[in-house]
Symmetry: C2
Subunit: 369 residues, 2 copies
Amino acid sequence: MENTLSAAEAAAAEEQSSYREHLSAELEAFLGEQQAVLQDVSVESLPLLDAVSSLARGGKRLRALLSYWGWRGAGGAELGTAAVRAGTALELFQSAALIHDDIIDRSDTRRGGPSVHRRFSTAHSEAAWHLDGTHFGSSAAILAGDLCLSLSEEMFAAVGAQAAHGTPARRIFNRMRTEVMAGQYLDILEEVVGPTHEPERAVVRARNILRYKSAKYTTEHPLTLGGALAGASDELMDWYSRFALPLGEAFQLRDDVLGVFGDPVQTGKPAGDDLREGKRTVLVAYALALGGSSAQKVIADSLGREDLDDDGVTALRSLIEDSGALAATETLIEGHTRAAFDALEQMPVNAVTRAALHSLALAAVNRKA
Amino acid sequence: MENTLSAAEAAAAEEQSSYREHLSAELEAFLGEQQAVLQDVSVESLPLLDAVSSLARGGKRLRALLSYWGWRGAGGAELGTAAVRAGTALELFQSAALIHDDIIDRSDTRRGGPSVHRRFSTAHSEAAWHLDGTHFGSSAAILAGDLCLSLSEEMFAAVGAQAAHGTPARRIFNRMRTEVMAGQYLDILEEVVGPTHEPERAVVRARNILRYKSAKYTTEHPLTLGGALAGASDELMDWYSRFALPLGEAFQLRDDVLGVFGDPVQTGKPAGDDLREGKRTVLVAYALALGGSSAQKVIADSLGREDLDDDGVTALRSLIEDSGALAATETLIEGHTRAAFDALEQMPVNAVTRAALHSLALAAVNRKA
């Protein structure tokens, strides 16, 4: 058994690395074509694409890889073009979402470098251009995100007949986009409305937001999308959801914990960014529900304060830990993780796909960044 | 001749009005489906779709109508589904562009009502929600624009085989989106970089921006897209471009004139909004090139000043008029208009299509709003 698993793991790792190479090659060829289009407009428009490209070239590729193994688990061909393009489209969609998210969350850094709006506002100040550089930065980033969103779709359409109008894959792709945007809207709404709700409802609300904004999008939609492209049976699609949805919830809960307790060196984000932005995550909701009126007061006073300093961050952290919220969140992560691995064990897929999904799932819930 | 034209005009008007009804019905059915998707996420996410819907329900439908007559002129069936869906997709794309444009241009009004970001910031202040309402408004509008952009594409994919990957129609749709975003980026770049350039280059630069940001997108791409869907010959497509490109340039130049000299009651926009935003239009570029150093100084001092008052607007207007820039722009509009109508006269299309394009073109260049 040990040996079989290792052989499957090795095969999965090798195939996955080839898939990554194909995805990069597809992305580069596509960005090259786009470069020609922008060059026709004006060489001065190229920085818009450069911003998109440098972001799209990075990342863990979790969504693309899940879609690939969803495809392979349903009998799709090794390194099939449809799976390469669908994965590239998912990664471009994720890049677009990050560009706009960073404007919304006022994040100055992304993947250890400047976020796109900061990149443009820095260019503005370095060149000593006119008018308001911050506004120029956000405006350029809005356009860069729009471009990236369009490119994602263009790439998805290039999947061809398997992703045409009316196909299951197209339905998943469409629904994914609408749900993510609705979930993100709920997220920012909760930041401004949340303080008026009773703490008891906070956890329920935060978990619904997490599900649509992130969990389904990060894991369930990519995996089922890959399956749909390869013509997966309803039964297999059901298994995919039973594995991926709890995994996605665990993934995002881990993200929430890292957003408060993560090591800036590893996450590439300043400590306490989520607290300064006022994110009403499940972690914060637990602190409200478990911490009593004193915790509620501290959270009301400091969550979402842009000028929250290190002492304020430390105080909020202690409160979240002391209230039992951190432990409750870890328990939730554990439960979801167990549910995901249980489903994976019974999922009717071959050993290589199972091994691949196993290692992706482990990385998703145990990560430090 | 008089009678023939009138009969064709009447037939065009009647058919166009049926097309508008089909487009509205298609849009409503689609928005209804989307409502169900958002409702599944949470009823609280519905305001995001409402904002998109109320914008998408308005407008002159210039792009959709051009695509329809492009389709009809190439032999497409009366009220064909492909043409209805493509037109709906174009109008959704335009709505998405307007939502994000209004954030970028800091416009508080759109079509006589509040712009989308203002709609959300007003909801925020009326409900006395927490944190920064302006930021909430822009963030919600970024998401509303993203949703609308995705819906535009979803609708375009629903055109079916005629718009699938690799078809001429899909190529035009893709190119249109990329060019618009590149053109918009050049537009905001020119606002901040423009002051450092010599006035002599300003007109050339402004005309290039106008071409990609607006002219091709407003007229040429919709008309040729409709033609491509109906399998237009290369020769006909060439005629479409020869008519639509000068028309689009005239349309946008008219827009630039209205942005400075238009009647706020008719345009639904405050007087001088373009000047306050610092738009370096062809009109402004002419003033720089023709007005000499004193005009250059006034423009440098007041263009792009958010606190520009009515006196400042009046002074800039006089300067633009006295420099000969207004007359030069009107001459340019005239020349483009003539070129468009000349091409239309020779275009190998039937009388009804010609009559329809004639009246759309007249409305585009002679409008007051």
